[in-house]
């Protein structure tokens, strides 16, 4: 019985030390894996947008098949349920390593509306990307607008 008490205290002390350690070193967050996963999602968007945007900007040759794959990927990304990646307390005011503003958690309906707009823009691009270059180009503005709308309200400035 006594041993158990000591063990609990020891464990508590260890936890406290590691928390202090993490805070003092600034790098580790209790939501490290979720934050990494969020950034991974963002990078997946960026890579696929890069394929479409590279063609839109005529920096790479238009390829209907590759454009369609990238657009399909965007649609797939917007259909992932990401709720588990955004736990309470994983905002820029509470933890290190993220620019996600606390307002995300106080404005969930608006965040939902904005991610809905991204879903719509990705779906529109899915219908445009494989058609021809001009169609693909016409869909980029809406995608950029949807990304920017969320980053305007909910991403901390650098």
């Amino acid at each position: 019985m006594k041993f158990r008490k000591v063990a609990v205290i020891a464990a508590g002390a260890l936890l406290a030390t590691t928390t202090v350690f993490a805070e003092s070193h600034g790098a580790k967050s209790p939501y490290d894996s979720q934050i990494k996963a969020r950034k991974g999602m963002m990078n997946l968007y960026a890579v696929n947008l890069g394929v479409l945007g590279g063609m839109a900007r005529e920096k790479i040759a238009y390829d209907a098949e590759a454009a369609q794959v990238a657009a399909d990927n965007l649609v797939a990304l917007t259909s992932v349920n990401v709720n588990s990646l955004w736990p309470q307390g994983s905002d820029s005011a509470s933890t290190e390593g993220t620019r996600a503003l606390p307002e995300i958690w106080s404005n969930f309906p608006d965040v939902g509306a904005k991610s809905g707009a991204l879903k719509d823009a990705a779906a529109a691009m899915q219908g445009l990307a494989g058609a021809d270059l001009a169609s693909l180009q016409s869909g980029m503005g809406a995608l950029g607008g949807a990304c920017g709308a969320c980053h305007k309200a909910y991403r901390q400035e650098q």
Binding site: A46, L49, G53, G141, G144, G145, G148, A149, H151, Q156
Partner: protein, 295 residues
Amino acid sequence: MLLALRGFVAVGIVGIGVFFWITSPVKVDPQTYAGLTANPENGKMVFWAAGCASCHTEPGSDATDAPSLSGGQAFASDFGTFYAPNISPDPDHGIGGWTVEEFANAVQKGVSPTGQHYYPAFPYSAYNKMQAQDLVDLKAFFDTLPADQTESKAHDVGFPFNIRRNLGGWKFLFVSDEWVLDTAPTPELERGRYLVEALAHCGECHTPRNALGGLETSSWLEGAPVPGGKGRVPAISPGKLNWTAEDIAYYLETGFTPDFDSVGGHMAAVVENMSRLTESDRKSVAAYLKAIPDE
């Protein structure tokens, strides 16, 4: 002793005279706008280029074609927090019923219809270079926007900055009608300079300020601390931003960086504006940014 006192009083009187002379509001010459016919279609382009909606819409509102300029956004600074006022066409709570002259005094001289100085959070030090025709057209477009009855919020500014008269001194020191880039040899650069330095007032955030809040034009567009917050507004001068002119124009159109990250924060509002301009205007802005001489 008496002589010294007299001298002191004389200097004091001259000093007060100079103070009143320097700090008294300077107004526009109404003749500048006389006989100009307003074109609200062009005014719409001026409106988006000048970014009025970015500051004067309700906090957190999304972009629309006919925004309600009800005000309320807060702007922190080293001198206090400023709240953008209601500038919708409501006659009681906004600026409905203002004459072109009153509107011009506000936008280009920073002077209210009652003769008070406005704080330079309102970028009249850039808008003073707006062409008279654009000013008249802008007013006409303002008149088409929805009226809103939201009460303007008082600024939260402490002594001595709450004495508006002093702003005349600020204007005397820091407002200039000269271009920063003194030569613009092509029509594209001239247009770009007009957009960047006059309408879009890019320097207001991207150029550092001195202790009194005046722009350090010797470090033009070289980036600056976020006013009243943490972080930095990035440099956009050619020596410090390695994007091509095409990168810049595409960013202003779509919000995508060359790496396909997206614009965020207050700059997202700027892109919402810039995306409504013509391709040729965005290219002019990009050409201008590439033409700033490196120090």
